[in-house]
Amino acid sequence: MKIVLQNLTKIFPSRNKKSNEEVVAVNNFNFEIPDGKLIGLLGPSGCGKSTTLYMISGLQKPSSGRIFFGDDDVTELSTENRGIGLVFQNYALYPHLTVKQNILFPLQNLRGKDKMDKNAMLDRAYEAAKLVQIEQLLDRKPSELSGGQQQRVAIARALVKMPRVLLLDEPLSNLDARLRLQTREEIRRIQKETGITTVFVTHDQEEAMSISDMIVVMKTGLVQQIGKPQEVYDDPANLFVAKFLGTPPINVFSGRVKQGKLYIGEDAVMEFTNVPDQEVTVGIRPEGFILDDNGPLKCKPVNVEVMGRDVSIVSTHGASLNPLVRSIVNADNRIDITGDFVRYAVKPHKIFIFNKETEERIYFEVK
């Protein structure tokens, strides 16, 4: 089931009656989510990603714009008639019911032609439990489960109605690091197995990048960029997207273009053909540095962090907008930071330049 969001906008009225300040939580969101894909809504808190999810679910009414599931306009449809499954950040399991009763709960509310008899319901519940691998826990209460198990129960409860759309609100934020890795694979597997169009919200870019077919990066209610994770990472539309994606984060410098050369401080790191002279902001991915004794970029080394396969060199540079410049180089390199400077060459496709005021990307061609 594809989902179409058309000019979707949500405005919250001001809490303070005098000031009349409205909060635009989601601003003119247009997107067509293809059938059977896993979409990650990504952004810092307060960017409107959860509001978008709640509007798709029907728990919040959009201020304007339409929502379509396939060809049906569901904008005015109430939540229970949309055929969605929703997993909450804190799972929202009913604490007084067993796992089985929790999973059965949505089925017991079906009315009219969808009404099921007891055995059919039980079959369906077992099926859902099997999918998330909790068959042996059916008689337990939620308080007797671990966080990861509760999470599976919540997913089973969302899936048992065979929803057209599965929505996940920060599904991994309450799990510890290892379980998070495992569960995100699990979500990916379940989504692939069921083929249900899935939208999930997260503030963790790594999580979004690792399992999504497409990611939507949002900031203060505005969509910044939509695309496949790798494309967005390799080709950010603006400084915000570039900064938001990637760990360790991108290194940002203030720089300028003069006569086809890009200067960072006094170091001319690149030459290109088609950018007029101006002040710019430069972003260089940590993996975009190459250790080179004759490289143009001179940084003052501070520390070397060994991460096994890679080595991260922490240094400072006068023009850097972050306190530290962090590069990642292969551990095979012999690292010598006893000198005054560590010198880098840069990979052209790992370097992005942005307009200093608008922070929009400036595209260039390497000479």
């Binding site: 939540t79 969605i84 929202a92 007084h96 949505p106 509310n109 009315r111 939620p142 409860r157």
Partner: protein, 225 residues
């Protein structure tokens, strides 16, 4: 302590009738009171309507008026309604307790909002959500309310004495007071005390059996974080 005193107590005071009356009043008023309390608390905790806060504040404010103050006006009202010497007069005037509503509303407010949203997604109506989720989760509070209300009905003295002191509707407290005083004004204490012991027994049993519900409480840990 003579066993015959207990038998005497039963016959002279017609304890059977007194018990029956008190049971009827106690059970009916407790049940109705629970229904009213649950629905009102739900409205104040969950529903959105204009003037909710103001209405709730007004309700709470009535708690500041001592009960003795409206005994006389209540008496006048029920007399005008012709309710004297009926079960109605023993049940209706005290059905609504602001304190219970307040207690339960606070309990309802502690139930996480996500459970309500989850129930909405699952297609549950408000009433069904109240019955299937909120009530089970608030069971300890509801049991406390039941016990308090039962005890209140069992122990009430002044109001029944004023408005329903005929043979057919007399409650146990008044019955105990009257039955063992003979015409000379002497009180047959041994038999009266035996009767008192008999009368205390049901309440004691209620407490013993419901104790574990009061203590245990329902765990809230379906929610993480």
């Amino acid at each position: 302590m003579l066993l015959s005193n207990y038998v005497d107590a039963f016959t002279t005071a017609s304890l059977g009738v007194l018990f029956k009356n008190t049971m009827i009043v106690g059970i009916v008023s407790t049940l109705l009171s629970l229904v009213i309390t649950i629905l009102t608390a739900f409205a104040f905790a969950r529903l959105e309507f204009k003037g909710k806060e103001l209405l709730f504040a007004a309700l709470l404010a009535t708690m500041m008026i001592p009960g003795e103050l409206f005994t006389i006006t209540n008496f006048a009202t029920v007399t005008n309604l012709g309710w004297r010497n009926t079960y109605t007069v023993l049940i209706v005037p005290f059905l609504v307790s602001v304190f219970y509503i307040y207690l339960l509303r606070q309990n309802f407010l502690q139930i996480p909002n996500e459970l309500y949203l989850a129930a909405k997604v699952d297609g549950t109506s408000d009433l069904k959500y109240l019955w299937k989720v909120m009530v089970p989760l608030s069971l300890p509070t509801l049991i406390s309310i039941t016990i308090l209300k039962m005890m209140g009905a069992w122990n009430s003295y002044i109001w029944p004495r004023l408005v329903a002191n005929d043979e057919a509707h007399r409650l146990i407290t008044n019955g105990l007071r009257n039955a063992f005083t003979d015409t000379t004004g002497d009180v047959n204490y041994p038999v009266q005390m035996a009767a008192v012991a008999l009368v205390s027994a049901p309440l004691f049993l209620v407490f013993v059996f419901l104790r574990k519900y009061i203590m245990s409480g329902v765990s809230r840990s379906g929610i993480k974080g």
